[in-house]
């Protein structure tokens, strides 16, 4: 019975997190719906606008996020084995990669501002076509919302590393705490996995 209580608690917490992630999927789902509508309404212009994005930077950022997901998965595995140091190192690595993602994204935004591609920094006349303008609007909203999620994730991961390091989250008893934050981070990754082809690879 001593073991049953934490495992019940873990299932309850996990279920809550999965439902929260379901609502996150629907939140980004609205943007996927916009992407679908734009693509059906203006296939040529959307493809042309997508070609102007730096798909190489996007791919590099995908690698960064996928690797950080690996780090989080390793952190969960270490936490379940009660390895404090391994957990902390993996969590910090994941948070660091998250920061790297944000840095690369900022560089990319900077390039797009200089190339007169990013709405809010670019006069409407500078866009190739009105639908190209719309597509870049969607790009900006979607990537900015995703970046907000990455930022929240970095804070969560770093805070978790701190708590594990200070032993205020004891392992392996508190492994569910690592798992729950990990789920959030993986979902942020999954959303990027879809955003990347939908934004960068329209041909």
């Amino acid at each position: 019975m001593a073991d049953a209580a934490p495992s019940r608690q873990r299932d309850t917490t996990l279920m809550g997190m999965y439902l929260f992630l379901a609502s996150e999927i629907m939140l980004f789902g609205g943007l996927f719906a916009v992407a679908l509508a734009l693509r059906l309404l203006h296939p040529q212009e959307v493809a042309a606008a997508s070609r102007r994005l730096h798909y190489g930077i996007g791919a590099a950022n995908t690698v960064v996020l996928l690797t950080s997901s690996l780090a989080v998965a390793l952190a969960v595995a270490a936490a379940e084995m009660g390895k404090v140091k391994g957990t902390v190192v993996s969590l910090l690595a994941a948070a660091g990669l998250g920061l790297g993602f944000l840095a690369l994204k900022a560089v990319e935004y900077g390039m797009e501002i200089r190339e007169q591609l990013l709405p809010a920094f670019t006069p409407a006349e500078a866009f190739e076509s009105p639908p190209a303008h719309l597509f870049m609007d969607l790009y900006l909203v979607a990537t900015a919302l995703h970046a907000v999620h990455v930022t929240v994730g970095v804070v969560l991961l770093a805070g978790l590393a701190w708590r594990v390091h200070r032993r205020s989250l004891a392992l392996p008893r508190g492994a569910a705490g690592v798992e729950v934050v990990g789920l959030y981070w993986h979902l942020v990754d999954v959303i990027w996995v879809f955003l990347y082809p939908i934004l960068y690879l329209v041909r």
Binding site: L19, S23, M26, E45, D137, V141
Partner: protein, 537 residues
């Protein structure tokens, strides 16, 4: 039995504002929702007074637009959606399933604070002069032309949406994880089934509204134009996204009411509910089919004819699970030993009004007829029959039924019966004329109208004044009962359900020992705890 009740456990303001007790949070919601009910009602009163004459004599056009927008926004997001789930759901779900609290008590308190934050934003909108887009925030009106506080209003709804999501999430996990031993899915009270179905919609539909409001705000702030036809965007896309949330939101508003009525009807009939499985299953069916019908709001907006045909057919299909419920309630009442208590009178008026609202919904779901009555008072009357005649009646029914449990005091039954009757009469006098008005061509959202419509508008406004007073009535005698009502026994109505096995009001941790359930639900008849004397009515 010396356990301290949840009401007695701490009297300081702090013990209320920092509580994680689901029952206290329910009371917090009850107070804040009642406040918004009267703010929204005041806006409705302004509308009905203005409509007494064909000319614009009380408000300017702009002022009238702001009044009905405020009425809609407050009633939908700050009263109807949280009404039954956040008060009675919060109070009853743990009690009904034999748990000590919700799965995430602190999250529950957070939801209330988020709700209040959203409410503050709404009050700020009100103080700063309102919005004039209608509660639907249709583009391009809301994005390019409206000059009210659109962004602030969108923020308010965005914020309150998170309260909805977190509450729904909490209920789902609670029902899955915290049922007491023996409380199988087949033994869950029907109210819990309906709250579960509602929560599914809350979690899955609300985020789409959130992102849509973000896009509106982004369009106003940065010119992000995905709904802007001048850039090749599509205003209809806004309507798709909005109604993907807002049609299921109609079921968020009415499903909990259906659950309440299932409880009230069986308790009044003193018989086991007829067709338990079908009533429970129909809640889930309504939640799912409710996601497939949103396009019936867009029949004349220019969406594809083929999409309209599919949406029309599926809208008719929603009537099936709704009909199942009404038939099962009727069959439950058949040969029952019915007591004409206030909760039952509210339930009866619910059933009648819900049937009228539902049947006129079928009329509106038909493509050809909708072209004629779209955006007229026929639509207004239809959804008020469901939302006000239905949900608000059920809300008052629930308030009367569970009041002795929540407060530990009897309410004056005679006054309860009177207010149920006055609400029913006032409601019909207000909204039935609007069916005729709409069919004759009176469009919604206009306050200047041809003189020939005046008689019906005056009738409607007269009914609204009866209805307004009838809504005030319960709050006076319920307040009175808090001081002067007799102490209520644990099971005053002779009802089944775990919530009636604990003292009234319930102790802080609900159950001294977690109960065990060993039989099906609704094993009527059950004797009431105390013989009811004529003194109670």
């Amino acid at each position: 039995m010396t356990e301290v009740s949840y009401l007695e456990h701490g009297h300081s303001l702090k013990s209320w504002l920092l509580t994680t007790d689901h029952k206290r949070i329910a009371i917090l919601y009850f107070l804040s929702i009642t406040f918004f009910f009267f703010v929204g009602g005041a806006a409705a009163a302004l509308i009905r007074i203005d409509l007494l004459t064909p000319e614009a004599d009380l408000m300017s056009n702009e002022g009238y637009n702001r009044a009905f927008t405020l009425h809609g926004v407050i009633m939908v997001w700050f009263f109807l959606i949280p009404s039954i789930p956040n008060t009675f759901g919060n109070f009853l779900v743990p009690l009904m399933i034999g748990a000590r609290d919700l799965a995430f008590p602190r999250l529950n308190l957070l939801s209330w604070y988020i709700y209040m934050l959203g409410g503050l934003f709404t009050l700020a909108v009100l103080v700063l002069g309102g919005v004039d887009t209608g509660w639907t925030f249709y583009t391009p009106l809301s994005s390019m032309f409206a000059n009210g506080n659109v962004i602030l209003a969108a923020t308010a709804i965005f914020v309150v949406g998170f309260s909805s999501i977190l509450t729904g999430l909490n209920f789902i996990v609670t029902v899955h994880r915290l049922r007491c031993p023996g409380m199988t899915w087949g033994r869950l009270p029907l109210f819990v089934w309906s709250i579960y179905a509602t929560s599914l919609i809350l979690v899955l539909a609300t985020p789409v509204l959130s992102i849509t409001l973000v896009l509106i705000a982004a369009e106003r702030l940065f010119g992000v134009g995905v709904f802007n036809p001048a850039l090749g965007g599509d205003p209809l896309l806004y309507q798709h996204l909005f109604w993907f949330y807002s049609h299921p939101a109609v079921y968020i508003m009415v499903l909990p009411a259906l659950g309440v009525i299932s409880e009230l009807v069986t308790a009044a009939a003193r018989k086991p509910v007829f067709g338990y499985r079908f009533v429970a299953g129909s809640s889930i069916a309504i939640a799912i089919i409710g996601f497939l019908v949103w396009g019936h709001h867009m029949f004349v907006a220019g969406q594809s004819m083929y999409a309209s045909a599919v949406f029309s057919f599926l809208s008719l299909a929603v009537a099936v699970p709704s009909g199942i419920k009404v038939y099962n309630w009727t069959a439950t009442l058949y040969k029952g030993h019915i007591a004409l208590d206030p909760p039952f009178l509210f339930a009866m008026s619910f059933i009648g009004l819900f049937v009228v609202g539902g049947m006129t919904g079928l009329i509106l779901a038909m493509l050809a007829v909708d072209v004629h009555v779209h955006d007229t008072y026929f639509v207004i009357a239809h959804f008020h029959y469901i939302m006000v005649g239905g949900t608000v009646s059920a809300y008052f029914g629930a308030l009367h039924y569970w009041w002795p449990k929540m407060m530990g005091r009897w309410l004056p039954l005679v006054w309860g019966r009177l207010s149920a009757i006055f609400i029913f009469l006032g409601f019909n006098l207000t909204f039935f004329p609007q069916f005729i008005l709409g069919y004759l061509g009176m469009p919604r959202r206009y306050h200047v109208y041809p003189a020939e419509f005046q008689t019906l508008h005056v009738l409607s406004s007269a009914g609204a004044s009866v209805l307004g007073l009838a809504y005030l009535l319960p709050f006076t005698y319920l307040l009175y009962s808090l001081r002067h009502g007799e102490k209520a026994p644990p099971n005053p109505w002779g009802a089944t359900g775990l919530e009636w096995t604990v003292p009234s009001p319930p102790p802080q941790h609900n159950f001294h020992e977690l109960p065990t359930v060993d039989g099906p639900p609704y094993q009527y008849p059950v004797e009431p705890d105390a013989e009811r004397e004529t003194a109670h009515g």
